[in-house]
């Protein structure tokens, strides 16, 4: 049994199902990030773990002990809220020490613990200030301090950085990673920002519409997504999806027609038996190369032709947006030295990097030996 076990958890508010059969195992010391679009149930799951919401069915257990009926304060979880939820009438010291004071700890123990937390978070000079006199980043640190003094088994963060400006966000992200390294405590972090999730997570849990879509190492999710949602959600710019039709199927060769309109392609792919009809090809923007005018495409490549609609010059690279003949939008990442001459452009992609998705959005994996 894992350190923190979420087993078959469902949650409904009235008739609205918010979480549907969520199963997740979290190991001690892991930095886990729940990521997904707004409204997918991330906060609800976090609140269930900490006990602010009850499950409709299923169990939450920590270190083998079922937590469903344990008081929030006794679960060994500490939460940092998006709004910080600092008590505005209390100083930093009073805010950070609140839980200790509620537990009637001895004064010298309180002072000692608060000072330790303050040292870790560089709050030493701010202990006598009230939240109104603190900057966003400082408030954030006070909120974390309030969690630290409780010495929880699990830290829970609900979009803690979303009220900070971009620069501070990057800095706080680094501080959180440092904090995790230093404390070694299990952390669960909620965000809707997949970049934040990729950078922070040991284990990234992608959620959508109340279900866990996939959980794993960020790069595994990036390279080997289980479904179209994960493929599209992880990575920026997004993966391109090209409609296609299965034409022929053989060992390590899947013939596709109608790729992005009229294109044809053969993927080094052993299809599951009976695969036919419409499918989708997923191609990451960095896996496509623009072809200079008149140049022959590399052998066996997928070639697409379309009209350039927008070129975003970012300095080191450019994002080229184009539409294919059938209206499918495609984005590719071009290097500084690659020439992109509009208005019409040909791009080539190595079919080994193409992922295949069924009409239901599920990933279709190659059968047998080949990894993909």
């Amino acid at each position: 049994m894992a350190f923190l076990d979420i087993a078959a958890v469902t949650k409904s508010f009235g008739a609205q199902g918010v979480l549907k059969d969520v199963n997740l195992s979290i190991e001690r010391g892991e930095f886990v990030v729940f990521v997904g679009p707004s409204g997918c149930g991330k906060s609800t799951l976090l609140r269930i773990i900490t006990g602010l919401e009850t499950v409709t069915s299923g169990t939450i257990s920590i270190e083998g002990e079922v937590m469903n009926d344990v008081e929030p304060a006794r679960r060994g979880t500490a939460m940092v809220f998006q709004s910080y939820a600092l008590y505005p009438h209390m100083t930093t010291f009073q805010n950070v020490s609140f839980s200790l004071r509620m537990a009637h700890r001895a004064r010298d123990v309180i002072v000692d613990k608060v000072q330790k937390a303050a040292a870790i978070l560089q709050l030493d000079k701010l202990l006598e200030r009230k939240p109104g006199q603190l900057s966003g980043g400082q408030k954030q640190r006070v909120a974390i301090g309030r969690a630290i003094v409780r010495e929880p088994r699990v830290f829970l963060f609900d979009e803690p950085l979303s009220n900070l400006d971009a620069e501070l966000r990057v800095q706080m992200r680094a501080e959180l990673m440092e904090l995790h390294r230093r404390l070694g405590t299990t952390m669960i972090y909620v965000t809707h920002d997949q970049v934040e999730a990729m950078t922070l997570a040991d284990k990234m849990v992608v959620m959508h519409a109340g279900r866990v879509q996939q959980a794993g190492k960020p790069l595994d999710l990036y390279d080997d997504p289980d479904n179209r949602f994960v493929a599209g959600f992880v990575g920026s710019p997004k993966m391109n999806f090209l409609p296609a039709r299965v034409q022929s199927s053989g060992p390590n060769a899947l013939g596709l027609a109608g790729v992005g309109g009229a294109g044809e392609a053969t993927l080094p792919f052993t299809a599951p038996p009976g695969l036919a009809g419409p499918v989708e090809i997923g191609l990451r923007p960095e896996r496509m190369r623009p072809l200079p005018p008149g140049a022959p495409p590399p052998p066996n490549s997928i070639v697409l032709e379309g009209q350039v609609t927008l070129v975003e010059e970012l300095g080191s690279e450019s994002y080229v947006h184009m539409v294919l003949a059938d209206g499918t939008p495609v984005t590719l990442r071009a290097g500084r030295d690659e020439t992109v001459e509009g208005p019409s452009l040909r791009v080539a992609a190595d079919p080994r990097h193409a992922l295949l998705f069924g009409p239901d959005g599920e990933r279709i994996r190659s059968q047998g030996g080949s990894k993909r």
Partner: protein, 280 residues
């Protein structure tokens, strides 16, 4: 003559109007002071004056009233009545508002509806049943009879609920996660966060209680339970054989606490009235 500009005509008119209203409002009070601090008989003479003529005469009258009548006891009763009512209104109102505003429980909407309905029922309608109830409890002529019917203030509850609703739920939940009990959340988080509203409610309750004439008149018929208002009422009664200046002295003594109170809490009172949208 550049740079000098006359104040706009509207500003002048506004000030003139404000000053005239202030004069009208202040004159009775000034007249009261004038009558008290004058030699007996002077204010009603053919040639009354607009300013005090004899401070010692006024002090004599005040001493007379404080020593010869039960005025001091009435002060005590009124003060106790006000303080206990304020304490009751604040404690009961804030506890109830805490539950109504921040938690859900079965029957919450219905109960809240009933409380709000009671705001619309005029005092005149409830005063007789309240009297009967108080009388059945044997509380006539007692402090509890005076205070308790007034401590459950629907208006106070309404006002505090508005304030407590503004407390972010996150904060309540954070406190819960920090191990605060239900009462500790109320005491350490909710109460301090609506301290402004509590002060305002205390002030409004004081003004209302000090000025309450009807309920004390009904519930305490014995002179030893008279409030300041009732004692002044005695002086003013048609059969009283007091002279005008003695009556005025009693009035002045009755008016001093609220006047002082007003001067001290002026800003809060104005804020409070604006906040509650009613006249105190």
């Amino acid at each position: 003559m550049t740079g000098m500009s006359l104040p706009p005509i509207w500003t002048i008119l506004k000030w003139a109007l404000a000053l005239s209203i202030a004069a009208v409002a202040l004159f009775p009070i000034w007249w009261m002071v004038n009558v008290v601090f004058a030699l007996p008989g002077e204010p009603v003479s053919l040639n009354p004056r607009l300013w005090p003529t004899s401070i010692p005469a006024g002090i004599d009258k005040i001493r007379l009233i404080l020593t010869e009548t039960d005025f001091l006891r009435a002060y005590g009763i009124s003060l106790l009545y006000a303080v206990l009512t304020i304490a009751g209104v604040l404690i009961i109102g804030s506890l109830a508002a805490f539950e109504f505003a921040l938690f859900d429980f079965p029957g919450r909407k219905l109960l809240f509806g009933i409380v709000m309905l009671s705001l619309m029922v005029p005092t005149a309608v409830t005063i007789i049943p309240t009297y009967l109830l108080t009388s059945q409890l044997g509380w006539l002529n007692t402090m509890q009879g005076l205070v308790i019917p007034g401590v459950a203030s629907a208006f106070g509850l309404f006002m505090l609920i508005q304030f407590m609703r503004a407390i972010p739920m996150d904060m309540i939940e954070a406190a819960r996660l920090d191990g605060a009990s239900h009462f500790q959340v109320y005491w350490h988080v909710a109460l301090p966060l609506c301290s402004n509203a509590l002060v305002t409610l205390a002030i409004l309750t004081f003004m209302q209680t000090w000025g309450n004439y009807m309920w004390p008149l009904i519930v305490s018929s014995r002179p030893e339970m008279y409030t300041v208002g009732q004692v002044v009422g005695l002086f003013n009664s048609p059969l009283s054989h007091q002279t005008v200046d003695t009556v005025m002295t009693a009035n002045l003594l009755a008016a001093i606490p609220p006047l002082l109170f007003f001067l001290i809490f002026q800003r809060k009172i104005v804020e409070g009235i604006a906040m509650s949208g009613t006249k105190g």
